[in-house]
């Protein structure tokens, strides 16, 4: 490429940088034969944003990431990353993104330093630039002399850090992290969170983070998209999403007759809806403190109440609300919970629109 072309390209890119979002996805579809892994997903992610893509195993998170980072072509729809179309200009996209895939994609026979140097060379960096970046990333890697050892001897946490460093060696504009803390111990997980926050705050790096940990999305992401069955079912800030479920939740554990208890509670003022799962009742309210007394009386009139708890909604409640399933300890659990909220699906659609607007 000539200097003039390079400048022109750089100029076009710079001009577009300020105006364009980091990631734009329009009606993205990805099918594998008869299976639709990603189904008409729309995303609009601003530069400098941490976006959490939340969903259980098999929801379509990783497939979406693989399309956005050019490893897979979209079946239909369009995706633009860092100003370039992933299908039409994958080479330009690759220059501008860093990716840490779900399984640390490392060569166990190379040493850490060999892997990072090779990464730098493949991104066209000079020796001096690679040296500089290795020095910059040294503290992130933080594996001391082990950098000279074969990667096969590393612990899971060390591999994750090295994988992240490899994704950052060329200073990407957009960083994709596909379940970056999966399998890590709590200390390593907290450390990874800290690094993600720093990358975002200090370098204004756009970060697209997929996770099946509710807490992770809550901690890190400015906005969260919930994907289930390949479809984006809810999107907004964690606070917005929680508010969409209700201001407060009353969780009651009753000794049988839950259906009768539901019928007793539903007409009460301030109750937005009641979900029953076995002997557990989740009562969504506009003002929990004002409602809990009436709820306690209504419940105890039809069945003994073992526990009654008032709490604010979590992303688990959001997930439950929009998919009808629970997250359990970071894992998806099929839940045959009876949805008792009147007008459920129509209201979900309305809430989604409200949250996203």
């Amino acid at each position: 490429m000539s200097l003039l072309q390079a400048e022109k390209d750089s100029g076009q890119r710079t001009a577009g940088v300020a105006a364009s979002p980091a990631i734009t996805v329009e009606r993205l579809v990805r099918r594998f034969g008869e299976v639709t892994a990603v189904d008409a997903v729309d995303l609009d992610i601003r530069r400098g944003e941490i976006y959490g893509f939340l969903g259980p195993n098999g929801a379509g998170k990783s497939t979406t990431v693989r399309v956005l980072c050019t490893l897979l072509s979209p079946t239909a729809g369009r995706a633009v990353v860092a100003g370039y179309d992933v299908a039409a200009q994958p080479e330009k996209v690759r220059l501008r993104i860093g990716v840490a895939l779900q399984e640390a994609a490392l060569d166990p026979k190379q040493t850490g330093i060999e892997l990072l140097r090779l990464q730098g060379r493949l991104y066209g960096l000079s020796r001096a630039e690679i040296r500089g970046r290795l020095a910059d990333l040294g503290q992130l890697i933080d594996i001391g002399d082990a950098l000279g050892r074969p990667i096969g001897t590393y612990s899971g946490g060390m591999k994750r850090r090295l994988d992240l460093a490899a994704a950052l060696i060329h200073n990407p504009e957009v960083l994709f992290l596909d379940e970056p803390t999966s399998g890590l111990d709590p200390v390593s997980r907290a450390r990874m969170w800290e690094e993600v926050r720093r990358l975002n705050s200090e370098l204004n790096m756009t970060i697209f983070l997929t996770t099946q940990y509710l807490e992770e999305a809550d901690e890190l992401a400015g906005r969260v998209g919930i994907i289930s069955g390949g479809r984006l079912v809810a999107e907004g800030s964690p606070a917005q999403l929680k508010r969409s479920v209700g201001n407060d939740l009353i969780v009651a554990h009753v000794d049988g007759r839950a259906e009768a208890a539901r019928r007793a509670v539903e007409p009460l003022g301030g109750v937005r809806g009641v979900d029953v799962h076995g002997d557990e009742m989740i009562i969504s309210t506009t003002d929990g403190a004002a409602t809990i007394g009436a709820v306690a009386v209504a419940l105890s009139s039809v069945t003994p109440v073992r526990h009654l708890t008032l709490r604010t909604p979590s992303l688990d409640d959001v997930f439950l609300e929009y998919t009808g399933n629970h997250f359990t300890g970071g894992q998806f659990a099929a839940d045959h919970r009876q949805q008792t909220r009147p007008g459920g699906s129509a209201r979900h659609e309305r809430d989604l629109m409200e949250v996203r607007s």
């Binding site: 490429m1 980072c69 050019t70 490893l71 897979l72 072509s73 994958p90 080479e91 690759r94 220059l95 501008r96 993104i97 990716v99 895939l101 399984e103 640390a104 994609a105 490392l106 060569d107 166990p108 026979k109 190379q110 060999e114 090779l118 990464q119 060379r121 493949l122 991104y123 066209g124 960096l125 630039e129 500089g132 970046r133 020095a135 910059d136 990333l137 040294g138 503290q139 992130l140 933080d142 074969p150 490899a166 060329h170 200073n171 990407p172 450390r191 800290e194 690094e195 720093r198 990358l199 200090e202 370098l203």
Partner: protein, 274 residues
């Protein structure tokens, strides 16, 4: 808590350090360098071929030397057997197995996420294969020279002998890469050599083609390995025999074209994003 060292230099770095496509040659050298660095860490991939080649070279000479000397006047079994040992040593030597491991470990995905040219990944491995094949031939030729073999084509002939051996190795390695990319199965790659093994022996590997009889003679006539052996052998036993060298070159090219066609088709399939 560990902190990033990029804090202070971050914005400046971002302005200066930016990814850009590397030159194609640099891509190939980078991939080949990685493949070559892995060789000493996996001695099991190179020691057996050399051992087998040396073993058969020595055993065949020990078995046939007395017989051939007493029955064929002026026949030098050591010179005759050298090309057979070379083809045994370098045929099937490739990094295709490591490519399969890359696919399984997800490392190929990491490479595909970079701007590296897809073809450079393949060529880089093959460049490493040529270097390895060249290195494997050295002890075999060294042993032959030590046993008294004196190539009739001289030093230039030895250089051409090495070159042809490397090119044959490369041509044959294409089948391994095609199988690696098509199947992603290490067992299939390992067995690829066994599949083609008979072709090495249905040739003039032990006796001149004129001494073969029946079906083996017919197969040897159509087997390209025969002409590769005869070309190599001519450099050792006769000197510069252009007809034999030409046929050997054509045979290597024919096998190479076929294997590379299969290889590139598999590469397109293996790296297709659809």
């Amino acid at each position: 808590m560990t902190t990033l060292g990029i804090t202070a230099a971050g914005p400046r770095d971002r302005a200066v350090i930016q990814a850009r496509p590397a030159h194609a040659v640099r891509d190939v050298i980078s991939i080949a360098g990685r493949a070559l660095r892995a060789v000493p860490r996996e001695p099991g991939t190179v020691i057996p071929p050399v051992f087998i080649a040396l073993f058969f070279f020595v055993v065949n000479i020990g078995t046939l030397q007395h017989l051939t000397q007493s029955h064929i006047k002026g026949f030098d079994i050591k010179s005759f057997m050298l090309p057979t040992a070379i083809l045994l040593g370098v045929t099937g030597v490739s990094r295709a197995g490591s490519l399969v491991t890359d696919i399984q470990d997800g490392y190929l995905d990491r490479l595909l996420l970079t701007p590296v040219r897809r073809l450079a990944i393949l060529i880089g491995h093959m460049v490493a294969d040529v270097a390895i094949a060249c290195a494997l031939m050295v002890p075999i030729i060294g042993l032959a020279l030590g046993l008294g073999v004196r190539p009739q084509a001289g030093a230039a002939g030895v250089a051409l002998f090495l070159l042809m051996g490397c090119l044959w190795s490369l041509a044959f390695a294409g089948f391994g890469y095609a199988i690696a990319l098509k199947t992603g199965n290490p067992a299939a790659v390992n067995s690829s050599f066994l599949l083609f093994f008979p072709f090495l022996f249905m040739t003039s590997s032990y006796v001149p083609r004129s001494q073969l009889s029946g079906w083996l003679s017919v197969i040897a006539t159509w087997n390209p390995v025969t002409y590769v052996l005869e070309g190599l052998r001519s450099l050792v036993t006769l000197g510069w025999q252009w007809a034999a060298l030409g046929k050997a070159t054509l045979s290597i090219a024919a096998v190479g074209v076929l294997s590379m066609f299969l290889c590139l088709a598999a590469l397109r399939g293996g790296t297709r994003r659809g």
